[in-house]
Symmetry: C2
Subunit: 245 residues, 2 copies
């Protein structure tokens, strides 16, 4: 039995998220079907984490176990030939039996892309979130640093989700000014709570709009009150960039 | 009568090119209809040049004349509210009566985007041309410089097009290595013949593949033979970046 680790890019707009669910096009089920078409085996494909409907991935990682005999370097081509163009398998490697994409994960990096031009974008309309009001990037850059370190991120978790520990570590948090009035928010952490990147990004937008002062972030974190943080930004601006093991 | 100059972004994949034609969705007709909806006037919208089906624009320029009274700064918002999301009017300015987007144009810049990764891209599949064979960028960078200057570009013009002068000047020609195995080919010139950027790009790909030597470019230009140049690359990787006056 081989354990195969895939690195996967997908266009989130074409799917109802990663997770398998009946009658809804999803990424997990689509790739599992492609594996079955090749191998004849029904497999479980475990991702580093689910992504929501509309969220994109540049480097999602998932693994599955198979008895099928195929040289490891042939897997990407075989899978890509059996799958929609909105998913690309970028690499495959054989990993040790106990490797698990979610449980073995050490760090993940997400990017949130904001288009801060006055009238937005035609070409990238499904790939960026348009915010027409001018954002103060320097304030956002001051604010984002307060998210680094180990914190209880309960204030930045979608309500109604399960009540396990909401303590996470953010190793690196940055707001980057990019060409053509684009802003990237990039967060690398041990793991992220449900909607956490989108809520942190919404809070940073409030900072950029002058609604929240940068030095108010620590007290918002400490409050553990979801209503103290900003809005959940839409999924189309969010990218899972990479997963480290 | 006011003469209004628009700067326009559009997603080429959603249209059968710039030019107005019956029963085919096109950019010119779509914007003219939006102008008519606002003003009640039928106008002629003149672009700096037609773009083919599938070709994108970041900064196409077009102008039209109107008697309608609307403060100039209100035009982008009014037009964007009356148009598909695959077109964005980025700015409007009032220009002198004799300004003509095509005839007054001094320089244009195009970019061709190649994705040179092994398995291509899911997210940007309509926005980049995938070439899986590894390209030798240094050779392409040597070759592209031979296109600079004033030349008869007959060898780089789609056959069957009209026989006016094919002499053009390229002011700047570059091949740029971008992150994530992307390659940009950027050309700034006095004007471009039909399919010229896509044929030059195809020729540079042949250089990158080792089929054409960089120093063979001058003799291909001099030959004026279309068959000596490379293939016409597909439209989805091509962007009209900006037009200067």
């Amino acid at each position: 039995m081989k354990n195969i680790k895939l690195t996967i890019e997908y266009d989130g707009k074409d799917f109802n998220g990663w997770q398998k669910q009946p009658d809804k096009l999803n990424i997990q089920g689509t790739i599992e079907q492609a594996i079955e078409r090749i191998t004849g085996e029904k497999v479980d494909l475990n991702a580093s984490g689910r992504t929501d409907a509309g969220v994109h991935a540049i480097g999602q990682v998932a693994n599955f176990k198979t008895n099928y005999e195929l040289p490891i370097e042939k897997w990407p081509l075989a899978l890509n030939a059996n799958i929609k163009k909105s998913i690309v398998i970028k690499s495959a490697e054989e990993v040790e039996e106990r490797f698990h994409s979610r449980l073995s994960c050490k760090r993940k990096t997400y990017r949130y892309v904001i288009n801060n031009s006055k009238y937005g974008t035609a070409i990238y309309r499904y790939l960026e979130t348009h915010i027409p009001q001018k954002l103060d990037i320097e304030k956002m850059q001051q604010a984002v640093k307060h998210f680094e370190g180990e914190h209880d991120f309960k204030a930045f978790k979608a309500s109604g989700t399960s009540s396990k520990s909401s303590v996470r570590t953010i190793y690196k948090a940055e707001v980057l000014q990019m060409p053509d009035e684009r802003i990237y928010i990039e967060l690398t952490g041990s793991g992220f709570l449900y909607n956490m990147v989108r809520i942190i990004s919404g809070t940073l937008v409030d900072v950029g709009l002058g609604k929240i002062e940068p030095n108010a972030i620590p007290s918002i974190i400490d409050s553990k009150q979801r209503e103290r943080a900003g809005k959940t930004l839409p999924p189309n601006g969010l990218y899972l960039l990479n997963v480290e093991y």
